[in-house]
Each structure stands twice: as C-alpha cells, then as structure tokens.
Amino acid sequence: MPDLIELDNVSKYFGNVIALTGVTTTVKAGEVTCVLGDNGAGKSTFIKILSGVHPHDTGRFLVEGDEVHYTSPREARAAGIATVYQDLAMAPLMSIWRNFFLGSEPTKGWGPWRHFDVAGAKKIAVEELRKMGIDVRDPEQPVGTLSGGELQSVAIARAVYFGAKALILDEPTSALGVRQSGMVLKYIVAARDRNLGVVFITHNPHHAYPVGDRFVILKRGRSLGNYAKSEISREELTKLMAGGAELEELAHELESVDPEAAEEILP
C-alpha cells in the first residue's frame, strides 16, 4: 500500500521569495509525522500546501500513490486531508453538538418538514467524543467554556468523524498549559491508533518527540532533514531545531530568573 501522503523535494515560491524549499517526508496511516520549526520557518506554507490553500511549485506531492496538485482546500478535504487550525473554526457561544455538526448538519423529514436531527446529532457527538477518550459532561455546553485542550479534541473528533484519513494539526499545543498540552498529545495518539496519518506542526520538540514517528525540521524555509524516530534522539532534535548556540543563550538569560529551568534546557 502506498503511503498516505508523500512529499518529494517540494518547494513553494512567492514571487522571488523562497517560502519553502526541498521538503521531503512521508505520512503513513497510523503514524505521526512531526513538522518542527521556529516562527518563520515555513510551517504555515507547509500546512497550506498540504491543505490545498497554495499549490506547490516544484517537486512531487503524492496522496495514496497518485500525484496531486491541489488548487483549493475543497480538493484536499475531498481526498481526506483535514486541517485543524489553531483558531479551530468554532463559534464559542454555540453548544458542543451544534459546533460538531456545523456546516454538515444531519437532517430528518421531507420537504418543508426537513429539520435538523437534534437528538441524533447530540448522540453522535457524545459517542464520537467518547471514542477519542473525551467524556463530555453535557453536549449543550457552549464550546467557549471548554478548556483549550478539550477544544482541540472536539475539533479533532469532528475531523475524524467526517472522514479524514490524514489530520493536519496546526500548533495544537502552542497556547496551552502543560496538562492541557498533555491532553492534546493523548488525542493525537488516539487519532493515530484509529489508523489516521497525523501531521503534527509544532515549535516544541518536547511535545513532538514522545508522539512522533517521523520528524521534519524546517528552518528559514529550508528542510534541515527528515528523520525516523530511530535516527534521532530528543536532544539532537532539540539542538537541531533551535540551534545549540541559541539554546545556550536562552539558558544564560534564564539563569538569573530561574536557574532550575535554565539547567533543564541544557542537561
């Protein structure tokens, strides 16, 4: 079986600006591919190519063995590539079940009596969230009252329910505390175990390493490598991502305010 997604030396230019160049990696069903990079490394461009917002310029982009050249997000979605953006596409004052089915509401009845199948929608939303390991207190709860981790998990469960094969997560842990981040990592693993291919975009190697099977490191639009987990250690990953010198500088800055934290940056 061909890989879910394969990128072979993919590049993207905006005019004469090189947004991304020479990216090669694979996303397999049941695996997590982590894309690491600091701000401006080209992560957003990477997401936009996969989700069909911007077509790539050179290189090959294969989905399940067939070369593709997406020109709209709809094409990518139809191929089963779902993107969960940082701002999650949810209306905060609406309930969990209303948000879960927003835009794809199940209906019942015929003609003028066609209506939103409310009971069915609530039941499916609760069931699907439970499959992801989320115990919903009350499907009527407005999503604005959920914690950041819970919100991400609802968005992931929604993408999975609507037929995603590959799930692209745009910095799902960036605005979260430790416990909330841990929760999101668990849902990433849960999605992986349901045989989805997960693309986990992050700037945090400590979040990426425990869950990742494959790591792509981007820096200033260039790929610094494409490693299987067996080929790289957490320390190497961290160093590669931030650059050893920069980390030392950070540790030095932290020394005065929080020596303990500084020590932990450079073990």
């Binding site: 953006y85 701002d87 999650l88 596409a89 949810m90 209306a91 905060p92 004052l93 609406m94 209303r98 089915f101 927003l102 835009g103 794809s104 209906t107 209506h115 939103f116 409310v118 439970r130 390991g133 115990d135 207190r137 009350d138 407005p142 604005g144 009252t145 959920l146 914690s147 950041g148 981790g149 819970e150 842990t173 960036s174 605005a175 979260l176 505390g177 430790v178 416990r179 909330q180 981040s181 841990g182 929760m183 990592l185 668990k186 693993v189 849960a190 992986r192 175990d193 945090n204 400590h206 979040h207 390493y209 425990p210 869950v211 957490r234 932290l254 303990e260 934290a261 932990e264 940056i265």
Partner: protein, 397 residues
C-alpha cells in the same frame, strides 16, 4: 511527560463522576442562562405591576386585547430583528420599511389601479429587493450593518415623503378600502376572528404567535438555524466549515424586510390608509425587544421566543401606563431603564456562562491575563518535565 505516550483507553464508565460535575450547574443557573428567561420574568413582573396599578381595566378582556395587539404589531418586525441580531447584524431601516410597504401597496392599488393583492405582491417584491440590497451592501463593503442600514433608513424616509407628496400632495395615501381585493386582504390581516367574553382579538395576534413559533422552529430545529447562530458567533469559522455565510446574512436582511412588509400590511388594512412615515422610530423598539429577549449585540446568541416576550413587555407597558393613568412620557423613561437592565444582565450572564466549567482555573486567571498565564506554563513545561505545571492544573484529562 513520558518519552512515549500510549493511547488512552476508553474511559471507564464513571457515572458518579459525571453526575457530580453536572450537579455543579444548578437548575437555577441553567434557567438563568436561557436567553428567553429574562424577558419571561420581566413580562410577569410588568403584568403584575399593572394588575396592581390598573386593576379595574387590566384584568378585563378588553385590556388584554389592547396590550396584546400592541405587542403583536411590534412582534411582527421584532422577531425577525431577533434572528438578524443572532446572525450578527442590525437593521435600522426596519421601522421605515413598515411605512414603505404600505405606501407602495397604496400607490399601486389607488393610483395605478391595480388589484389590492397585486399591489401587495409588488410591494413585497420591492421590500425584498431593499432587504437584499441592505444585505448585499453590508457583505460587499464589510462595513457595520449599523451604518449601512442607517443610510437606507434615511434614503427611504426621504424618498417616501418626496414620492407621496408629488403624487398625492399629502404624506399619506388614502382610499385603499375602495380598491378591488381589499376586503379579502382585510380579512387576512385586520379581522378579529376570536371573541372572548365579548371582546374581539385581532388576527395580528395570531400572526404574531405563528411567526414566533416558526422563527423558533427554524432557529432551533433546522440547518439554517444552526447557520444563523454560527454566522453571528463567528462568521469566519462558519465559512471555513462550509456554511454559506453570506447567503445566510443576506437572507436574514430579506426576512426582516418581508416581516416589515407584513407589519405594514396589517397597519394598512387596520387603518385603511397609508401613512408613509408609519414605523419610523420603531426600529429602536424592535431592537429593544430583541435585547430584552436575550439577543447579544455582538451576535451568536439569543431567542425568538424571548424577543416575543420582549414585545409583550413593550406592549403591556405602553398600554398599562395609559390605563393606570400615569404620565405618557414615562414610557420612554421606562424603555431606557429596561433596555439598560437587560443589556447589563445579558452581558453578565454571557460572561458567567462562558466562564463556567473551566476546570480548576480560578476566575481571576480565567478572566485576565489568561493567555500569558498559559504561555508561561507552556514554556516551563517545555523546559522541564511539567511537574510544576501539573500543580496548577485542575481535574480533567
């Protein structure tokens, strides 16, 4: 965190835990955060107030019919305004639409000699066109609907006066009751089909109840209703998951215009003449009724039934002040006070509701500096193993 994370097992059945967490939201609070609760409670208070202050007339069928009729007329427009406000927009031309629809119907029927039904149909088409234009201009320009519809309001007001004065030398159109088809339209819009205790209840009360029920059904039980909440709550999010956001908004403006037309037809048939500035100034009453009914000015939340109760409050107060023999001007003072109270209450309830259930986060952290607190924790967690972060987390996961 650990080097490798294994999939979480499906959570064991823990009904006791779930129940315990649910119980934290008391029945009282669940009632309070329902958008229509405030208006219902307010309507009860106002009713009791006038039952005490104007007891001779208030508890008669005649008194009831009077305030119901007033409420119903407001409601024909206000329920649509509630839907529009939930969809995140305003329409300040909704008041002048009442006079506009009456004027066009009157001119077509009396001065063009059309059958009254044809005149009504043409007038409806014009109103829908104006509604479409309102929506189209708001969507295309990206300007707040407040300013766009304020423009439409003045355009229509000026145009209506100019047109009727040129044709009739007056600011109203008379003689509609002599046109063909008027009597059947009169039955539909201005008859009094219900008689209780010798008092006639006008048909617009039925229109009002029917319209409210339909609006509530659409809002809560159809796909379009889900879209209305979504485009008001977060238009970008709605669009991204495939909701036809622009069409939903334009449709809402057209609905408001169509309901303005219905309101206009009721007034036209009840009075037998079209006063072109009919309804001017009432756009604010419609908005007040919607706010009383729990609609947020920022969209995404509210209730059609609540707006109907809001209209009931307006209707009862307007008539009650007369029946109780108070000074008429107190009506405006009262409107201002209840609008402020309702708006404050809505905001307070919304903050309360959206803060509820955030596990383990103290309110001060949840309210202020939320992002900063979280980012700080994330950085620490990234550096260490997260033990310190765990301490401030609450139950969950």
């Amino acid at each position: 965190m650990a080097e490798t994370i294994t999939a979480i097992e499906p959570p064991p059945a823990t009904p006791t835990v779930a129940d315990e967490r649910l119980a934290r939201q008391s029945l009282w609070k669940r009632l309070l955060i329902r958008p229509e609760f405030g208006a219902l409670a307010g309507a009860l208070v106002v009713w009791l107030l006038f039952a005490w202050q104007a007891k001779d007339t208030w508890l008669t069928w005649g008194g009831t019919a009077t305030y119901l009729d007033t409420a119903a007329l407001y409601g024909l427009s206000a329920v649509a305004i509630a839907l529009l406000m939930i969809g995140g927009e305003f329409d300040l031309s909704s008041g002048v639409m009442v006079g506009t629809s009456g004027m066009f119907t009157g001119l077509f029927a009396v001065h063009s000699g059309f059958n009254f039904w044809l005149a009504m149909a043409l007038s409806l088409a014009i109103c829908l066109g104006i509604g479409f234009l309102n929506g189209y201009m708001v969507i295309k320009s990206g300007l707040p609907s407040f300013i766009v519809t304020l423009g439409t309001f003045f355009v229509l007001r000026g145009f209506n006066l100019w047109l009727t004065q040129n044709i009739t030398s007056q600011t109203n159109v008379t003689g509609v009751e002599r046109t063909g088809g008027f009597s059947s339209a009169d039955k539909l819009f201005a008859s009094a089909p219900i008689k209780i205790g010798g008092t006639e209840f006008r048909v617009d009360i039925l229109w009002f109840i029917g319209l409210t029920a339909l609006a509530a059904w659409v809002l809560l039980r159809t796909r379009v209703g889900n879209w209305i909440f979504a485009v008001g709550g977060s238009k970008e999010a709605a669009r991204r998951v495939g909701v036809p956001a622009n069409a939903t908004k334009i449709g809402l403006f057209m609905l408001v215009a169509a309901c303005g037309w219905l309101h206009g037809m009721v007034v036209l048939t009840q009075t037998g003449r079209s006063n072109v500035i009919e309804g001017v100034g009432q756009e604010f009453y419609f908005i007040i009724a919607a706010v009383l009914g729990g609609c947020l000015l920022t969209g995404g939340f509210g209730s059609a039934v609540g707006a109907a109760f809001g209209c009931l409050i307006l209707g009862m107060t307007q008539q009650g002040i007369v029946l109780a023999g108070w000074d008429n001007n107190l009506y405006f003072l009262f409107l201002g006070v209840i609008l402020l109270v309702a708006a404050f209450a809505n905001e307070w309830i919304r903050n309360w509701a959206t803060r509820a259930g955030r596990p383990g986060r103290p309110p001060d952290v949840a309210m202020a500096g939320n992002g900063a607190a979280r980012n700080g924790a994330a950085e620490k967690g990234a550096a260490g193993d997260g033990a310190r972060g765990e301490a401030r987390g609450g139950p969950g996961a």
